[in-house]
Structure formats: structure tokens, C-alpha cells
Subunit: 205 residues, 2 copies
DNA sequence: TCTACCTTTGACCGATTAGTTAAACCAAAT
DNA sequence: ATTTGGTTTAACTAATCGGTCAAAGGTAGA
């Protein structure tokens, strides 16, 4: 019995749904595709997740939880600010490398006009920038970073530098790295030091 | 007769298709939606663009051409490197502000598994990083920028800082700006100076 | 007016798809 | 052995969607 056969049906469905929804989008994904990928009958999907919407919501919840919920927790440690930033980038990139499908999955759905599920989950989530803004303010008072640094700009810039290379892979790999997959992978792996240095140059006094 | 009624049918269809494909994705967009949005009969879509694939390809070609084809032309001017960079960012942000739908439209489709049209168009395009790499190399030799600057990193970082805030709007606006649309718009407008300064700090010796 | 050509329309078709249903399967408890 | 409960399946349905077609509308030139 292989590893995949050991896990239960519900889990198999969710894994298959993650893949298919990401590859095809919500509308493009067909319940039959997901069933085939999970190695089960289509009716079983409706047995475990009553509708396509429900199944999609389950996948979205997983993805959004991974990327957003614990985004600012690192900044509650006792490390100095620069170490915290470095650990944040490292942590975030690590999640991205393990789940490169997540950012495009989330952004793709959030950019749709009618997204009942996605908008709800964002409001419900406890993602809050205020505590991070407080920390930045304290660093400014301590004189460790530039006086005009704004927490909002800082976090957006960091996320941009982390996430963009992942979602733009299908255009970066051919145009910048001449379709050499290894070159792209290597680039992503070395990205942490690059980002940390940029951020350091951004904020240091 | 309103402005929209004056333009010809083909143009009306293309405009409607841009909107609907962006809002719903290729699979999610229905030919009937596009027809309704254009204020015409569904059969007319097939009269002007024989199939959904053809119509989608037309929209993709427009979007990709806008964002990618003239991406490196600014660096062929006689201005000094820093001025070129500043003008590049300004130019790119201006296109993004006028066509905020484009990045998500392109990336959304490129990240799908089966995208015959999109991948073709990238290969056909004359987007080439080599000339930009040459310019960067010369600046290094002149001693105007850091010795370890890599053209590939530089252009990806600039694009990330320009594009990410646009595609992540539906998450930035509620989480960072408490759903205040004006605050977000203001942020985007002031983005040029922010990016230019980051890039300056990134590369200056 | 007649003709020729381009444009527009409504009715229709075949294929696909999400979801239903009733029956079969299977393991554990009685 | 029988029952009970959760699990799995094949067959089916109703609705939707991309695309076709034949006919009608409109317009400019002969």
C-alpha cells in the first residue's frame, strides 16, 4: 500500500482539489478532474463536500490560513528588529517554497468580482498591522531605523519582494532565465539574503 | 448618441472582453456575459471573433503588448542611468494605473497548466534582458553602482515593487488601509518616489 | 428599384457539468 | 447470521454553455 492510499478520503480530496483549483482556477476546475486526481468517484466529492463552492471554500481557508494568519507573530519575539525582519523573510520564503501555489490561488480569487467566500475570510482573520506599526514606531524612537519609515510601506515592500518572484515564475523563467529551471530555482533559493539586504538598505539610518 | 455607441462593434466587444475575462478568468467568463456587457447579440461575438479562444487571444495580445514589449526601450536613451531608472518606474506605474487589470490578467492565465496561447506569445515577443544587462555592466565599470549588482535581480525587484501593490489591491485595501479606497489610491500615486528611493539605496555605491 | 454585400438577430444543437438518487459494499457490533 | 452505520459506486437529470445556421436588416452603388 503506497503512502497516498493510506490517508483517508477526505484528505485525498482536499489535496487533489488544491492542485486542480490552482492549475485551472475555480471555474476551470471540474469536479471530475478532482475526483480523478484523488482516485475516487465523483459522487464521493459531493458526499464529503456537498458542493463545489464548499470544497473551494475549504481549500481557500487552508491556503489563506497558511499565508496570512501568523504573518506578524514573529515580531512579538525578543530579538532585535533586524533579526526579526530576517527571520520573517526566511519564514515567509520557506512557506512559499513549500506551497508555491498559494499566492496565485488567493490573489486570483480575490481579484474576481463576485467572491463571497474570500472576502469574508479576510474580514474574519485577525491579520492586523497595528502591532507591527507600533514596533516600527518604537524603532524610530530608538533611532535604529530612518525617521520617515512607514510600517505600511515596509510590509508591502517586503511582501512584494517575497511573493512576486513566485507568482511571476512563468514569465521570469523563460524571459530572464532562458527557460533554465535550475537557474530559476537557484535564484529563489538565494533570494533571502537579497531581500534582507534590500530591506536593510531601505530602513537603516 | 453616447460615446460608447459611437465606437464600432469590434472595439465594443474587445473592451467588454477585457473586463469580463479579468473579472472572471478565461473559464469563468461566459460569451453571453461579454455580449451583454458589449450590448450586442451573442452571435455577433462569433461573427467578429470566431471562437472564445480567438477572442481571449486578442485580449491577451493587447495586454501583453502593453506591459512587456516596450519594457526596456527607455534604457536606450542618452540619459544617465539613474534618470533612466526613474523614467522607467514612472512610465511603468503610469501604464499600470491606466490598466490595473493587466497584470492579474496575464499572470492569472500564465499560471494555468494548459495555456497554449499565452506561452506562445511570450516566446514570440522580443522581450530580451541582454541589452539591459549590458547597460548595468557598463555602469558597474563606470563605478556608478555597486559591483555586485545583477541585472536580473534588479529588474525583477523593480517589477515586483511596481506590480505587487496593484495585484494585491483586494488584500492591501482592507488589511492595510482599513477599506479606505482614498488611502489606497493615494498610496499608489505616491509610489513612484518610494520605489525610486528603494532602488537608489539598492544600487548606489 | 434592384442587387450585392456586410451586419445583426433569434432559434436551435450537441457537449459538458454540477449535483441527485438509489442501490451496493463492507466492517464492526449484536 | 443479521443488523447497523458509514462509505462507495453507476446511472441519471436539469441546466448551462460554446458554437451554428438560416433568415432578416441595413446601406451603398448600378
Amino acid at each position: 500500500m503506497s503512502d497516498k492510499e493510506k490517508i483517508n478520503t477526505e484528505e485525498k480530496i482536499l489535496d487533489a482539489a488544491k492542485e486542480v483549483f490552482t492549475e485551472e482556477g475555480k471555474a476551470g476546475a471540474k469536479m471530475q478532474m478532482i475526483a480523478d486526481r484523488a482516485g475516487i468517484n465523483k459522487s464521493l466529492l459531493h458526499y464529503y463536500y456537498r458542493s463545489k463552492d464548499k470544497l473551494f471554500a475549504a481549500v481557500f481557508k487552508f491556503a489563506f490560513g497558511k499565508m496570512a494568519s501568523k504573518i506578524f507573530t514573529i515580531f512579538k519575539s525578543d530579538d532585535d528588529f533586524f533579526t526579526q525582519l530576517e527571520r520573517f523573510v526566511e519564514n515567509y520564503l520557506s512557506i512559499l517554497l513549500k506551497n508555491p501555489f498559494i499566492p496565485m490561488f488567493i490573489l486570483g480569487e480575490l481579484n474576481k468580482k463576485h467572491n463571497n467566500i474570500a472576502a469574508e475570510l479576510i474580514l474574519k482573520s485577525d491579520v492586523n498591522i497595528d502591532s507591527f506599526a507600533d514596533i516600527v514606531q518604537k524603532e524610530i524612537q530608538k533611532g535604529t531605523i530612518k525617521k520617515d519609515i512607514q510600517a505600511k510601506n515596509l510590509i508591502i515592500n517586503i511582501l512584494a519582494l517575497c511573493i512576486f518572484p513566485v507568482i511571476a515564475k512563468p514569465i521570469i523563467e523563460p524571459v530572464v532565465f532562458n527557460n533554465k529551471t535550475d537557474a530559476y530555482k537557484n535564484y529563489i533559493k538565494n533570494r533571502k539574503d537579497e531581500i534582507v539586504e534590500i530591506v536593510y538598505n531601505m530602513i537603516k539610518v
